[in-house]
């Protein structure tokens, strides 16, 4: 009899018709999936079978999953199942089948688990937008992915959705690759190098040169749909075009690099903005040009090799038309290229003026002086200059808007101007400056009326759809009041998922440190077990003891071996956040509220956990009397930590009171369904439990204590993190002497929380 393990047995018990497929494949399954992943996968198969997509899908998942696991490892295969089910729901069974059939080809093309996941996520996002086109598009997966990486694939598909303007017929034609438009979009995506593809390395480059951490934003199209042709910077933010038109491959990367470093030189060496005053456009352009050369020369004093980076873009040649843009491009070249010859008197004069003042290059005022002089000369030469069509040359230079102070009116005009809090910072390695939190997102009046697209299906065992009642412990009468408090699960408000990504960016240094910790925690480190009855080497100490005993005439201990064992992580954790109204209070000495810090901490926590691979959930609660303990699920155990979870985290808002005990019971009930060896419930709270209908301070405290005790009987460890520096007494009453921690410096919560988790789980 084949030993199938519990997951497989359960699958075959519920779906006996799959035996013909599973049993013959069993040896292959064992080869491709390590036991943990295998059970997870088989559960995913069961979920697929339950999702009523038909047996074809389940069989395709079994076959396709095996093939994928061979190429990219077992984990992404689980995600494949989730995506297929989601796709079946949004785009129909045929699309799900197409996905499963396409998956092994995609895996071969994409090669790595992360790229494969990106592709899955892109498909899942597209499905609701173009349900009718999913199946035909997925049938063409191989050809598409031969041209496009997952990001470009999504960009191409989105272009199709947009171009079709809600006309399913046109959309289908686009995805069948039967329109010229579609092919052109395909080639554009495949050709032009997008800044995001090289963003990380270029930002690191800037940090390496000057410790500059400039937030880079993608320059948006203007109101007329015109794509920006030059990079730009203002108030410490850098705006980079997503692509430089017509520049591809290595040259595009060089251009992005040259451009970003040029802006870095500005950030490093340009002073405060020049007042525009009465300067004419031509003078503005010339002062900017001299300023460009000045900061580049200062940068090259430290890094002479930068000349090699910028020089190839200076292609202006002596001679030719004497229009202003041409002369200016020639002057720009004359100022950086010592071998460039130009006999034009104006260019020569500019060169002399500039190099005569080499000793005072450190002073931005010289740009103003030289630029002014050259502007006058050019004005007298009556050359043409059209400020409307003028574009800075060479292409790597920015539009220089960041150099000028146009007064208040113009600054307000810059629609995309972001608040100053994101201004660049000169980093001091460890102290990761932590500017104010995310601005609150607009909220809707009653979110409960708003159906949540991504909510789990009602048959999801984690959803407690009808309100649940819990007893409450009354210490005065010494017994429980049955069915006393009611938990109402509500859909979480959604904020902007990107704001959470930005939090991660802000805490880059902490994240890096945590990644290293995760790595060391994840690799289950081998440990020597000594004094074993058998093992792969002698335990010297035990041998000597045994010899000694023998000489003393005692019976020696025969356990003289040592063996190497690996410990596995088997742990799930639920993070429960207190979002009562008091979390709106600002933390002393900072401009952030407690909730903001909770959000930062949770973002880092979730980021760490997602990397670590421990199953985790994030829930939040507040209460409005015993009839309404509101409970929000930011992220459930079974859902990935994705944009939806991030959006919900961003959307958390502080309100109402803290009926902790009931929330603990509800969280414990969800956590109890996890089948891991250890189950940990981490609670972050900022004060003692309270609610509007309770006057006796001790009542809710005792109920919470009772709840913690009951959970520990179920084998769930509850650990409390208190943000109230005076909370020692009641926290130890609720959580027990050793199972709580008081954060005396609340502003350090974000970095402490993930580290604390790693220590608790170690």
């Amino acid at each position: 009899m084949l030993d199938l393990g519990s997951a497989a047995s359960a699958l075959l018990r519920d779906h006996p018709d799959l035996a013909d497929a599973v049993i013959p494949a069993w040896p292959a399954i064992g080869r491709r999936f390590p036991p943990d992943a295998r059970d997870q996968w088989l559960r995913a198969c069961a979920a697929m079978a339950d999702a009523a997509l038909g047996q074809t899908c389940v069989l395709a998942y079994l076959r396709g999953g095996l093939a994928c696991a061979e190429i990219i490892g077992p984990d992404p295969v689980i995600d494949l199942g989730d995506t297929a089910i989601a796709l079946g729901r949004t785009a129909g069974v045929r699309a799900a089948q197409a996905l499963l059939a396409a998956a092994p080809k995609a895996a071969r093309r994409l090669g790595t688990p992360s790229r494969f996941r990106e592709w899955l996520a892109a498909v899942e996002r597209l499905a609701p937008m173009a349900p009718e086109s999913m199946a035909p598009m997925l049938d063409r997966t191989e050809g598409l992915l031969a041209e496009l990486d997952p990001a470009a694939f999504e960009a191409w598909a989105l272009a199709g959705v947009r171009a079709a303007a809600d006309d399913p017929g046109r959309r289908l034609a686009f995805f069948l690759l039967s329109t010229r438009e579609s092919l052109r979009a395909l080639h554009r995506e495949a050709d032009d190098l997008a800044f995001s593809a090289v963003e990380r390395r270029l930002k690191a480059y800037l940090a390496a040169l000057w410790r500059l951490r400039a937030p880079v934003r993608h320059a948006k199209a203007d109101a007329a749909g015109g794509v920006p042709r030059r990079a730009s910077f203002s108030d410490g933010l850098v705006w980079m075009p997503e692509t430089f038109r017509g520049v591809a491959g290595q040259r595009a990367e060089d251009l992005f690099r040259a451009s970003l470093v040029h802006i870095g030189a500005h950030l490093r060496h340009s002073g405060p903005r020049f007042p525009v005053g009465s300067l004419k456009p031509l003078q503005l352009a010339l002062v900017s040009l001299i300023e460009d050369a000045r900061v580049e020369h200062l940068a090259m004093r430290g890094y002479p090799g930068l000349r090699r980076l910028w020089l190839p873009f200076h292609v202006a040649e002596a001679g030719g038309a004497g229009t202003a843009p041409v002369l200016m491009a020639r002057l720009a070249r004359a100022l950086i290229d010592p071998h460039y010859q130009d006999d034009n008197a104006w260019v020569a004069k500019g060169r002399t003026l500039f190099f005569e003042r080499e000793d005072s290059w450190a002073d931005p005022a010289i740009s103003r002086t030289i630029g002014g002089l050259l502007g006058n000369d050019l004005g007298q030469m009556r050359v043409q200059f059209n400020a409307k069509t003028y574009v800075v040359e060479p292409a790597y230079r920015d539009d220089n808007l960041g150099l000028w102070d146009f007064g208040d009116a113009a600054a307000a005009n810059r629609a995309e101007a972001e608040t100053v809090y994101e201004a660049y910072r000169v980093e001091h390695a460890e102290q990761d400056g932590d500017p104010s939190g995310v601005p609150p997102e607009p909220r809707e009046a009653d979110p409960a009326e708003r159906p949540d697209r991504s909510a789990p299906a009602p048959d999801d065992p984690e959803i407690a759809a009808p309100p649940v009642r819990y007893p409450e412990w009354d210490y005065l009468i010494g017994r429980e009041r049955p069915d006393w408090a009611r938990v109402v699960e509500r859909f979480a408000y959604e904020g902007s998922a990107r704001s959470i990504d930005r939090i991660i960016d802000q805490h880059k240094a902490v994240v890096d440190r945590l990644t290293a910790l995760v790595r060391s925690a994840k690799v289950s480190r081998p440990a020597w077990l000594r004094r074993q009855p058998e093992g792969d080497r002698l335990d010297l100490d035990a041998c000597i003891e045994a010899a000694l005993s023998r000489r003393r005439g005692e019976t020696p201990d025969t356990r003289v071996y040592a063996t190497l064992a690996r410990r596995h992580r088997d742990l799930s954790v639920l993070l429960l956040l207190d979002i009562s109204a008091s979390t709106n209070d600002l933390v002393r000495g900072t401009d952030k509220s407690i909730l903001t810090l909770e959000r930062h901490a949770t973002a880092l926590f979730a980021n760490t956990l997602a990397e670590l691979g421990d199953p985790f959930a994030i829930h939040a609660f507040c209460s409005n009397g015993r009839e309404e303990v509101r409970y929000y699920r930011i992220k459930d155990f079974r859902r990935p930590y994705d944009a939806v979870a991030k959006a919900r985290l961003a959307g958390l808002a502080a309100e109402l009171s803290t009926r902790l005990g009931t929330a603990l019971k509800h969280a414990g009930r969800i956590l109890a369904r996890q089948s891991t060896h250890r189950r940990l419930l981490l609670v972050i709270t900022d004060g003692e439990p309270s609610d509007i209908d309770i006057a006796d301070r001790r009542y809710l405290l005792e109920d919470a204590r009772k709840a913690v005790l009951a959970l520990s009987h179920l084998g769930i460890d509850v650990f409390g993190i208190g943000l109230d520096p005076n909370g020692k007494e009641y926290l130890s009453r609720m959580f027990g002497q050793r199972n709580f921690l008081v954060m005396d410096r609340v502003e350090r919560l974000p970095e402490k929380l993930p580290a604390l988790y790693l220590r608790l789980s170690h």
Binding site: L209, G302, E430, D512, A516
Partner: protein
């Protein structure tokens, strides 16, 4: 003498950065247990070698590791034809005969192992050997020194409070650029301008700390690079194989660091 092989006869090169030599001499005069803190490759081990030479004391170094037991430090019974024979461990050797015992990277050892040093590091200055039923009073010349890299591992691995508080600490960091260049020039036998360039390159890697690098390039790595340059390897290649490739596997960070090196070279 028992410890002759542990004596240091030639002066190990050490370039003082501030007053650490004087501080250590005073601490030794008081036989105070010392902790040397600082990132890897900044000269802690070289410093202790230099001080042992300067003070004319033998130096016994133990590289600590996770699997180390207390027996590995204090000693154990071994078997021979006659019966059992006690064999002093490195710590016992130093305590008995008067050496400086240097426990390198002490956090790597398990916390229960490190408690054996407690009786040595307070007023008692004794080492009890339970298995032999012996109590050794430390030789007057004995001093205990540990090194400790307060890097990223400090969350999972840290010294016990009760251990930490027994030591006085000297903090080391990478020296100021001019001093570091002097050290690189001396150790790698390269001209001063090459050494300065290498130190500038190290600076850009240290800027990347927290941006994908755990630690920046250490002085030790620079000396490696310098040694290859002194043997005729071109600078770019030498930096690639001694600095860029060892320090990270992250392609983007590697690219950024290589590009910064290229930018530093005229």
């Amino acid at each position: 003498m028992v410890l002759d092989e542990f004596r240091i006869n030639e002066e190990p090169y050490y370039r003082p950065v501030s007053d650490e030599v004087g501080l250590f001499e005073a601490a030794y005069a008081a036989r105070m247990p010392m902790m040397l803190k600082g990132p890897t490759g900044c000269g802690k081990t070289r410093f202790i070698e230099h001080m042992a030479w300067r003070l004319g004391r033998p130096l016994i170094t133990v590289a600590c590791h996770e699997d180390m037991t207390a027996s590995d430090l204090v000693g154990r019974y071994l078997l021979d034809a006659e019966g059992t024979r006690w064999h002093d461990g490195p710590l016992t050797l130093a305590v008995r005969h008067g050496a400086i015992c240097y426990l390198d990277e002490i956090v790597e050892a398990r916390q229960d192992t490190t408690v054996v040093i407690h009786p040595l590091t307070d007023a008692r200055r004794v080492l009890p050997l339970e298995k032999r039923n012996e109590l050794i009073t430390a030789h007057p010349d004995f001093q205990l020194v540990i090194s400790y890299n307060p890097g990223y591992q400090s969350v999972l691995k840290d010294l016990k409070e009760s251990t930490k508080q027994r030591f006085a600490a000297i903090e080391f960091d990478f020296p100021a650029p001019s001093v570091e260049a002097e050290i690189v020039a001396h150790e790698a036998e390269v001209p001063a301008d090459v050494a300065h360039l290498l130190v500038r390159i190290a600076g850009s890697s240290r800027n990347l700390k927290g941006q994908g690098l755990q630690e920046g390039v250490s002085t030790r790595m620079l000396i490696h690079a310098g040694r290859l340059i002194a043997r005729g390897i071109p600078l770019a290649k030498a930096c690639e194989i001694t600095l860029v490739l060892p320090i990270t596997d992250d392609a983007d960070v590697r690219d950024a660091f290589s590009a910064a090196i290229a930018a530093s070279v005229a």
